[in-house]
Symmetry: C2
Subunit: 229 residues, 2 copies
Protein backbone atom coordinates (compact mmCIF):
# COMPACT_ATOMS: atom_id res chain seq x y z
CA UNK A 1 0.00 0.00 0.00
CA UNK A 2 1.34 3.38 -0.95
CA UNK A 3 1.88 6.05 1.63
CA UNK A 4 0.64 9.61 1.39
CA UNK A 5 4.22 10.62 0.64
CA UNK A 6 4.54 8.18 -2.27
CA UNK A 7 1.23 9.35 -3.72
CA UNK A 8 2.32 12.95 -3.51
CA UNK A 9 5.64 12.08 -5.19
CA UNK A 10 3.77 10.38 -8.03
CA UNK A 11 1.46 13.39 -8.31
CA UNK A 12 4.50 15.69 -8.58
CA UNK A 13 5.94 13.59 -11.38
CA UNK A 14 2.66 13.52 -13.30
CA UNK A 15 2.18 17.27 -13.08
CA UNK A 16 5.70 17.84 -14.28
CA UNK A 17 4.95 15.67 -17.31
CA UNK A 18 1.81 17.71 -18.01
CA UNK A 19 3.91 20.85 -17.72
CA UNK A 20 6.47 19.38 -20.13
CA UNK A 21 3.75 18.52 -22.64
CA UNK A 22 2.41 22.08 -22.54
CA UNK A 23 5.86 23.63 -22.98
CA UNK A 24 6.72 21.36 -25.88
CA UNK A 25 3.36 22.03 -27.54
CA UNK A 26 3.94 25.78 -27.20
CA UNK A 27 7.23 25.54 -29.11
CA UNK A 28 5.68 23.31 -31.80
CA UNK A 29 2.77 25.73 -32.24
CA UNK A 30 5.03 28.77 -32.45
CA UNK A 31 7.04 27.11 -35.21
CA UNK A 32 3.89 26.03 -37.05
CA UNK A 33 2.80 29.68 -36.84
CA UNK A 34 6.15 30.63 -38.40
CA UNK A 35 5.78 28.12 -41.23
CA UNK A 36 2.19 29.06 -42.02
CA UNK A 37 2.47 32.78 -41.17
CA UNK A 38 -0.58 32.16 -38.98
CA UNK A 39 -1.52 34.93 -36.56
CA UNK A 40 -4.11 32.84 -34.71
CA UNK A 41 -1.57 30.19 -33.80
CA UNK A 42 0.61 32.98 -32.36
CA UNK A 43 -2.28 34.13 -30.19
CA UNK A 44 -2.82 30.52 -29.06
CA UNK A 45 0.78 30.43 -27.83
CA UNK A 46 0.44 33.77 -26.01
CA UNK A 47 -2.81 32.62 -24.41
CA UNK A 48 -1.35 29.23 -23.45
CA UNK A 49 1.32 30.86 -21.30
CA UNK A 50 -1.22 31.33 -18.48
CA UNK A 51 -1.81 27.59 -18.13
CA UNK A 52 1.94 26.96 -18.04
CA UNK A 53 2.49 29.60 -15.36
CA UNK A 54 -0.38 28.26 -13.30
CA UNK A 55 0.88 24.68 -13.32
CA UNK A 56 4.40 25.93 -12.54
CA UNK A 57 3.10 27.42 -9.29
CA UNK A 58 1.19 24.25 -8.40
CA UNK A 59 4.32 22.14 -8.87
CA UNK A 60 6.41 24.47 -6.72
CA UNK A 61 3.85 24.39 -3.92
CA UNK A 62 3.59 20.62 -4.08
CA UNK A 63 7.38 20.29 -3.93
CA UNK A 64 7.50 22.56 -0.89
CA UNK A 65 4.78 20.47 0.81
CA UNK A 66 6.81 17.34 0.16
CA UNK A 67 9.97 18.90 1.58
CA UNK A 68 8.01 19.88 4.68
CA UNK A 69 7.03 16.25 5.32
CA UNK A 70 9.24 14.37 7.74
CA UNK A 71 12.79 13.80 6.56
CA UNK A 72 12.55 12.62 2.98
CA UNK A 73 15.36 10.20 2.12
CA UNK A 74 18.42 11.56 0.31
CA UNK A 75 17.30 10.12 -3.04
CA UNK A 76 13.80 11.60 -2.59
CA UNK A 77 15.29 14.96 -1.64
CA UNK A 78 17.34 14.95 -4.81
CA UNK A 79 14.25 13.96 -6.81
CA UNK A 80 12.15 16.79 -5.34
CA UNK A 81 14.82 19.43 -5.90
CA UNK A 82 15.38 18.10 -9.43
CA UNK A 83 11.63 18.51 -10.03
CA UNK A 84 11.68 22.16 -8.97
CA UNK A 85 14.62 22.86 -11.27
CA UNK A 86 13.05 21.01 -14.21
CA UNK A 87 9.84 22.94 -13.50
CA UNK A 88 11.67 26.27 -13.79
CA UNK A 89 13.33 25.19 -17.04
CA UNK A 90 10.05 24.05 -18.58
CA UNK A 91 8.46 27.37 -17.70
CA UNK A 92 11.31 29.09 -19.51
CA UNK A 93 10.81 26.85 -22.54
CA UNK A 94 7.25 28.20 -22.55
CA UNK A 95 8.66 31.75 -22.36
CA UNK A 96 10.84 31.06 -25.39
CA UNK A 97 7.77 29.87 -27.30
CA UNK A 98 6.06 33.16 -26.41
CA UNK A 99 9.10 35.10 -27.62
CA UNK A 100 9.01 33.18 -30.90
CA UNK A 101 5.28 33.82 -31.32
CA UNK A 102 5.86 37.56 -30.81
CA UNK A 103 8.58 37.57 -33.44
CA UNK A 104 6.33 35.68 -35.85
CA UNK A 105 3.64 38.34 -35.33
CA UNK A 106 6.28 40.91 -36.35
CA UNK A 107 7.32 38.87 -39.41
CA UNK A 108 3.74 38.42 -40.62
CA UNK A 109 3.23 42.19 -40.77
CA UNK A 110 6.19 42.58 -43.16
CA UNK A 111 6.52 41.51 -46.80
CA UNK A 112 7.74 37.91 -47.05
CA UNK A 113 11.42 37.53 -47.95
CA UNK A 114 13.29 34.41 -48.87
CA UNK A 115 15.92 33.71 -46.22
CA UNK A 116 18.31 30.78 -46.68
CA UNK A 117 17.78 29.30 -43.22
CA UNK A 118 15.84 26.27 -42.03
CA UNK A 119 14.14 27.36 -38.79
CA UNK A 120 11.87 24.29 -38.53
CA UNK A 121 14.94 22.06 -38.63
CA UNK A 122 16.53 23.85 -35.67
CA UNK A 123 13.17 23.78 -33.91
CA UNK A 124 12.78 20.05 -34.53
CA UNK A 125 16.13 19.33 -32.92
CA UNK A 126 15.54 21.66 -29.95
CA UNK A 127 12.00 20.40 -29.27
CA UNK A 128 13.25 16.82 -29.65
CA UNK A 129 15.79 17.53 -26.91
CA UNK A 130 13.04 18.68 -24.53
CA UNK A 131 11.00 15.57 -25.31
CA UNK A 132 13.96 13.25 -24.77
CA UNK A 133 14.97 15.05 -21.58
CA UNK A 134 11.50 14.35 -20.21
CA UNK A 135 11.74 10.72 -21.32
CA UNK A 136 15.05 10.36 -19.50
CA UNK A 137 13.30 11.81 -16.45
CA UNK A 138 10.29 9.44 -16.63
CA UNK A 139 12.51 6.43 -17.07
CA UNK A 140 15.18 7.66 -14.64
CA UNK A 141 17.84 6.94 -17.24
CA UNK A 142 21.06 8.92 -17.00
CA UNK A 143 22.36 7.40 -20.27
CA UNK A 144 19.47 8.95 -22.23
CA UNK A 145 20.10 12.25 -20.47
CA UNK A 146 23.77 12.15 -21.47
CA UNK A 147 22.88 11.82 -25.15
CA UNK A 148 21.05 15.15 -24.84
CA UNK A 149 24.17 16.97 -23.71
CA UNK A 150 25.74 16.08 -27.06
CA UNK A 151 22.74 17.32 -29.03
CA UNK A 152 23.16 20.75 -27.49
CA UNK A 153 26.37 21.24 -29.47
CA UNK A 154 24.48 20.53 -32.70
CA UNK A 155 21.88 23.20 -31.96
CA UNK A 156 24.61 25.66 -30.97
CA UNK A 157 26.29 25.09 -34.32
CA UNK A 158 23.02 25.49 -36.27
CA UNK A 159 22.35 28.74 -34.42
CA UNK A 160 25.83 30.10 -35.19
CA UNK A 161 25.51 29.20 -38.88
CA UNK A 162 22.10 30.87 -39.05
CA UNK A 163 23.55 33.96 -37.42
CA UNK A 164 26.35 34.25 -40.01
CA UNK A 165 24.01 33.72 -42.97
CA UNK A 166 21.50 36.29 -41.72
CA UNK A 167 24.07 38.99 -40.95
CA UNK A 168 25.42 38.55 -44.49
CA UNK A 169 21.87 38.85 -45.85
CA UNK A 170 21.20 42.05 -43.85
CA UNK A 171 24.44 43.45 -45.18
CA UNK A 172 23.55 42.68 -48.80
CA UNK A 173 19.93 43.69 -48.63
CA UNK A 174 19.03 46.37 -46.07
CA UNK A 175 15.36 46.09 -47.01
CA UNK A 176 15.09 42.78 -45.23
CA UNK A 177 16.91 43.83 -42.04
CA UNK A 178 13.84 43.51 -39.83
CA UNK A 179 12.79 40.13 -41.19
CA UNK A 180 16.33 38.74 -40.95
CA UNK A 181 16.67 40.05 -37.41
CA UNK A 182 13.36 38.45 -36.38
CA UNK A 183 14.52 35.09 -37.73
CA UNK A 184 17.93 35.51 -36.06
CA UNK A 185 16.20 36.07 -32.72
CA UNK A 186 13.92 33.05 -33.26
CA UNK A 187 17.02 30.97 -33.89
CA UNK A 188 18.49 32.23 -30.61
CA UNK A 189 15.25 31.42 -28.80
CA UNK A 190 15.44 27.87 -30.11
CA UNK A 191 19.05 27.62 -29.04
CA UNK A 192 17.88 28.61 -25.57
CA UNK A 193 15.16 25.93 -25.65
CA UNK A 194 18.00 23.46 -26.26
CA UNK A 195 19.88 24.93 -23.26
CA UNK A 196 16.87 24.34 -21.03
CA UNK A 197 16.62 20.76 -22.28
CA UNK A 198 20.31 20.40 -21.41
CA UNK A 199 19.67 21.75 -17.92
CA UNK A 200 16.87 19.21 -17.48
CA UNK A 201 19.15 16.40 -18.64
CA UNK A 202 21.78 17.51 -16.12
CA UNK A 203 19.17 17.51 -13.35
CA UNK A 204 18.12 13.98 -14.32
CA UNK A 205 21.74 12.82 -14.14
CA UNK A 206 22.13 14.49 -10.75
CA UNK A 207 18.97 12.85 -9.46
CA UNK A 208 19.85 9.38 -10.76
CA UNK A 209 23.55 9.37 -10.02
CA UNK A 210 23.85 11.93 -7.28
CA UNK A 211 26.58 13.65 -9.29
CA UNK A 212 26.58 17.27 -10.33
CA UNK A 213 27.48 17.44 -14.02
CA UNK A 214 26.90 21.14 -14.40
CA UNK A 215 29.86 23.11 -15.68
CA UNK A 216 31.91 19.95 -16.02
CA UNK A 217 33.63 19.01 -19.25
CA UNK A 218 31.78 15.68 -19.24
CA UNK A 219 30.72 14.24 -22.58
CA UNK A 220 29.93 17.70 -23.89
CA UNK A 221 32.39 20.12 -25.44
CA UNK A 222 33.14 23.24 -23.44
CA UNK A 223 29.99 25.33 -23.64
CA UNK A 224 30.33 28.64 -25.42
CA UNK A 225 28.82 31.81 -24.08
CA UNK A 226 26.39 31.59 -27.01
CA UNK A 227 24.77 28.70 -25.24
CA UNK A 228 24.31 30.57 -21.98
CA UNK A 229 20.80 31.38 -20.98
CA UNK B 1 24.26 29.82 21.59
CA UNK B 2 23.68 29.10 17.93
CA UNK B 3 22.87 25.64 16.70
CA UNK B 4 24.63 23.86 13.87
CA UNK B 5 21.55 24.50 11.76
CA UNK B 6 21.64 28.25 12.41
CA UNK B 7 25.33 28.40 11.58
CA UNK B 8 24.76 26.57 8.32
CA UNK B 9 21.88 28.93 7.45
CA UNK B 10 24.14 31.93 8.05
CA UNK B 11 26.86 30.30 5.95
CA UNK B 12 24.37 29.79 3.10
CA UNK B 13 23.39 33.46 3.22
CA UNK B 14 27.01 34.64 3.21
CA UNK B 15 27.97 32.48 0.27
CA UNK B 16 24.97 33.72 -1.68
CA UNK B 17 26.15 37.28 -1.04
CA UNK B 18 29.61 36.38 -2.31
CA UNK B 19 27.99 34.85 -5.38
CA UNK B 20 25.94 38.02 -5.89
CA UNK B 21 29.05 40.19 -5.65
CA UNK B 22 30.83 38.10 -8.28
CA UNK B 23 27.86 38.18 -10.67
CA UNK B 24 27.45 41.94 -10.31
CA UNK B 25 31.17 42.51 -10.80
CA UNK B 26 31.10 40.40 -13.97
CA UNK B 27 28.38 42.62 -15.48
CA UNK B 28 30.23 45.81 -14.45
CA UNK B 29 33.46 44.53 -15.98
CA UNK B 30 31.80 43.49 -19.23
CA UNK B 31 30.34 46.98 -19.61
CA UNK B 32 33.65 48.62 -18.75
CA UNK B 33 35.17 46.43 -21.47
CA UNK B 34 32.51 47.76 -23.85
CA UNK B 35 33.20 51.39 -22.93
CA UNK B 36 36.98 51.06 -23.19
CA UNK B 37 37.06 48.50 -26.04
CA UNK B 38 39.30 46.48 -23.71
CA UNK B 39 39.99 42.90 -24.71
CA UNK B 40 41.71 42.00 -21.43
CA UNK B 41 38.66 42.95 -19.40
CA UNK B 42 36.62 40.63 -21.66
CA UNK B 43 38.99 37.78 -20.90
CA UNK B 44 38.71 38.57 -17.17
CA UNK B 45 34.95 38.10 -17.43
CA UNK B 46 35.29 34.82 -19.34
CA UNK B 47 37.83 33.57 -16.80
CA UNK B 48 35.70 34.69 -13.84
CA UNK B 49 32.85 32.41 -14.89
CA UNK B 50 34.62 29.42 -13.35
CA UNK B 51 34.55 30.93 -9.85
CA UNK B 52 30.85 31.72 -10.22
CA UNK B 53 30.05 28.18 -11.36
CA UNK B 54 32.08 26.70 -8.54
CA UNK B 55 30.34 28.72 -5.82
CA UNK B 56 26.97 27.94 -7.42
CA UNK B 57 27.61 24.24 -6.85
CA UNK B 58 28.73 24.80 -3.27
CA UNK B 59 25.56 26.73 -2.47
CA UNK B 60 23.35 24.03 -4.00
CA UNK B 61 25.09 21.34 -1.99
CA UNK B 62 24.83 23.33 1.22
CA UNK B 63 21.11 23.92 0.62
CA UNK B 64 20.57 20.22 0.04
CA UNK B 65 22.42 19.42 3.30
CA UNK B 66 20.19 21.87 5.14
CA UNK B 67 17.04 20.34 3.68
CA UNK B 68 18.26 16.92 4.79
CA UNK B 69 18.51 18.08 8.40
CA UNK B 70 15.53 17.30 10.59
CA UNK B 71 12.34 19.09 9.63
CA UNK B 72 13.29 22.70 9.03
CA UNK B 73 10.47 25.07 9.96
CA UNK B 74 8.22 26.37 7.20
CA UNK B 75 9.91 29.78 7.16
CA UNK B 76 13.36 28.14 6.99
CA UNK B 77 12.19 25.85 4.20
CA UNK B 78 11.03 28.86 2.23
CA UNK B 79 14.34 30.60 2.91
CA UNK B 80 16.39 27.61 1.73
CA UNK B 81 14.36 27.14 -1.45
CA UNK B 82 14.53 30.90 -2.09
CA UNK B 83 18.33 30.65 -1.78
CA UNK B 84 18.55 27.89 -4.39
CA UNK B 85 16.42 29.92 -6.79
CA UNK B 86 18.39 33.12 -6.19
CA UNK B 87 21.56 31.08 -6.70
CA UNK B 88 20.38 29.90 -10.12
CA UNK B 89 19.44 33.45 -11.12
CA UNK B 90 22.80 34.85 -10.05
CA UNK B 91 24.59 32.19 -12.05
CA UNK B 92 22.58 33.27 -15.07
CA UNK B 93 23.49 36.91 -14.45
CA UNK B 94 27.09 35.71 -14.71
CA UNK B 95 26.23 33.95 -18.00
CA UNK B 96 24.80 37.19 -19.37
CA UNK B 97 28.04 38.97 -18.46
CA UNK B 98 29.93 36.28 -20.40
CA UNK B 99 27.61 36.78 -23.39
CA UNK B 100 28.26 40.53 -23.26
CA UNK B 101 32.02 40.01 -23.07
CA UNK B 102 31.88 37.76 -26.15
CA UNK B 103 29.93 40.40 -28.05
CA UNK B 104 32.43 43.07 -27.00
CA UNK B 105 35.24 40.89 -28.35
CA UNK B 106 33.36 40.84 -31.67
CA UNK B 107 32.85 44.62 -31.61
CA UNK B 108 36.51 45.35 -30.88
CA UNK B 109 37.57 43.49 -34.04
CA UNK B 110 35.42 45.77 -36.20
CA UNK B 111 35.86 49.46 -37.06
CA UNK B 112 34.22 51.68 -34.41
CA UNK B 113 30.88 53.16 -35.44
CA UNK B 114 28.88 55.82 -33.69
CA UNK B 115 25.59 54.31 -32.53
CA UNK B 116 23.00 56.53 -30.86
CA UNK B 117 22.41 54.25 -27.87
CA UNK B 118 23.52 54.50 -24.25
CA UNK B 119 24.48 50.94 -23.27
CA UNK B 120 26.15 51.95 -19.96
CA UNK B 121 22.90 53.60 -18.88
CA UNK B 122 20.88 50.41 -19.43
CA UNK B 123 23.66 48.46 -17.71
CA UNK B 124 23.65 50.82 -14.73
CA UNK B 125 19.92 50.31 -14.22
CA UNK B 126 20.07 46.54 -14.67
CA UNK B 127 23.11 46.07 -12.39
CA UNK B 128 21.49 48.38 -9.85
CA UNK B 129 18.47 46.07 -9.82
CA UNK B 130 20.67 43.07 -8.99
CA UNK B 131 22.37 45.02 -6.18
CA UNK B 132 19.06 46.17 -4.73
CA UNK B 133 17.55 42.70 -5.03
CA UNK B 134 20.43 41.38 -2.92
CA UNK B 135 19.94 44.20 -0.41
CA UNK B 136 16.26 43.32 -0.10
CA UNK B 137 17.38 39.74 0.52
CA UNK B 138 19.95 40.65 3.20
CA UNK B 139 17.49 42.88 5.00
CA UNK B 140 14.51 40.60 4.40
CA UNK B 141 12.51 43.56 3.14
CA UNK B 142 9.67 42.83 0.76
CA UNK B 143 9.04 46.56 0.20
CA UNK B 144 12.54 47.01 -1.30
CA UNK B 145 11.96 43.93 -3.43
CA UNK B 146 8.70 45.36 -4.74
CA UNK B 147 10.43 48.52 -5.94
CA UNK B 148 12.59 46.31 -8.16
CA UNK B 149 9.57 44.88 -9.96
CA UNK B 150 8.78 48.40 -11.17
CA UNK B 151 12.34 49.01 -12.38
CA UNK B 152 12.05 46.02 -14.68
CA UNK B 153 9.55 47.93 -16.82
CA UNK B 154 12.07 50.75 -17.24
CA UNK B 155 14.76 48.39 -18.51
CA UNK B 156 12.26 46.71 -20.84
CA UNK B 157 11.42 50.09 -22.31
CA UNK B 158 15.09 51.06 -22.74
CA UNK B 159 15.74 47.76 -24.48
CA UNK B 160 12.80 48.22 -26.87
CA UNK B 161 13.91 51.76 -27.73
CA UNK B 162 17.45 50.56 -28.37
CA UNK B 163 16.11 47.82 -30.62
CA UNK B 164 14.13 50.31 -32.74
CA UNK B 165 17.03 52.74 -33.07
CA UNK B 166 19.49 50.02 -34.07
CA UNK B 167 17.24 48.38 -36.66
CA UNK B 168 16.78 51.80 -38.24
CA UNK B 169 20.56 52.27 -38.23
CA UNK B 170 21.16 48.88 -39.86
CA UNK B 171 18.62 49.78 -42.49
CA UNK B 172 20.28 53.11 -43.27
CA UNK B 173 23.84 51.91 -43.13
CA UNK B 174 24.44 48.25 -44.01
CA UNK B 175 28.15 48.64 -43.28
CA UNK B 176 27.46 48.76 -39.56
CA UNK B 177 25.06 45.78 -39.45
CA UNK B 178 27.39 43.61 -37.39
CA UNK B 179 28.24 46.32 -34.86
CA UNK B 180 24.60 47.35 -34.47
CA UNK B 181 23.58 43.72 -34.04
CA UNK B 182 26.23 43.16 -31.37
CA UNK B 183 24.97 46.18 -29.43
CA UNK B 184 21.37 45.05 -29.87
CA UNK B 185 22.25 41.68 -28.38
CA UNK B 186 24.13 43.33 -25.49
CA UNK B 187 21.02 45.37 -24.78
CA UNK B 188 18.96 42.17 -24.70
CA UNK B 189 21.49 40.55 -22.36
CA UNK B 190 21.12 43.50 -20.00
CA UNK B 191 17.36 43.25 -20.20
CA UNK B 192 17.75 39.63 -19.14
CA UNK B 193 19.98 40.65 -16.22
CA UNK B 194 17.06 42.83 -15.12
CA UNK B 195 14.72 39.83 -15.45
CA UNK B 196 16.95 37.79 -13.16
CA UNK B 197 16.98 40.64 -10.63
CA UNK B 198 13.19 40.62 -10.85
CA UNK B 199 13.11 36.87 -10.22
CA UNK B 200 15.31 37.38 -7.15
CA UNK B 201 13.02 40.13 -5.87
CA UNK B 202 10.03 37.80 -6.30
CA UNK B 203 11.82 35.08 -4.37
CA UNK B 204 12.55 37.53 -1.55
CA UNK B 205 8.87 38.51 -1.41
CA UNK B 206 7.90 34.84 -1.35
CA UNK B 207 10.34 34.10 1.45
CA UNK B 208 9.32 37.11 3.56
CA UNK B 209 5.59 37.05 2.97
CA UNK B 210 5.00 33.45 1.99
CA UNK B 211 3.14 34.68 -1.08
CA UNK B 212 3.93 33.74 -4.66
CA UNK B 213 4.02 36.91 -6.74
CA UNK B 214 5.24 35.28 -9.92
CA UNK B 215 3.02 35.81 -12.94
CA UNK B 216 0.70 38.01 -10.91
CA UNK B 217 -0.28 41.46 -12.06
CA UNK B 218 0.98 42.90 -8.75
CA UNK B 219 2.59 46.32 -8.82
CA UNK B 220 4.20 45.53 -12.15
CA UNK B 221 2.61 45.94 -15.54
CA UNK B 222 1.90 42.73 -17.43
CA UNK B 223 5.29 41.43 -18.55
CA UNK B 224 5.82 41.28 -22.28
CA UNK B 225 7.39 38.34 -23.99
CA UNK B 226 10.42 40.59 -24.59
CA UNK B 227 11.09 40.37 -20.89
CA UNK B 228 10.96 36.60 -20.79
CA UNK B 229 14.17 34.81 -20.01
Amino acid sequence: MRTRFQNAMEDLKQRLLTMGGLAEQAVDRAIEAYRKRDQNLCFDVLEGEKAINSIEREIDELALDLLAMQQPLAVDLRFITACTKINADLERVGDQAVNIAERVLSIIKLPPVDLPVDVPRIAGTAAGMVRRALESFIEGRADLAEAILKMDDIVDRMNRETHIVLVEKMHQNPDCVQQALDVLLISRNLERVADHATNIAEDVIFWVRGADVRHHAGPRATPTAESAD
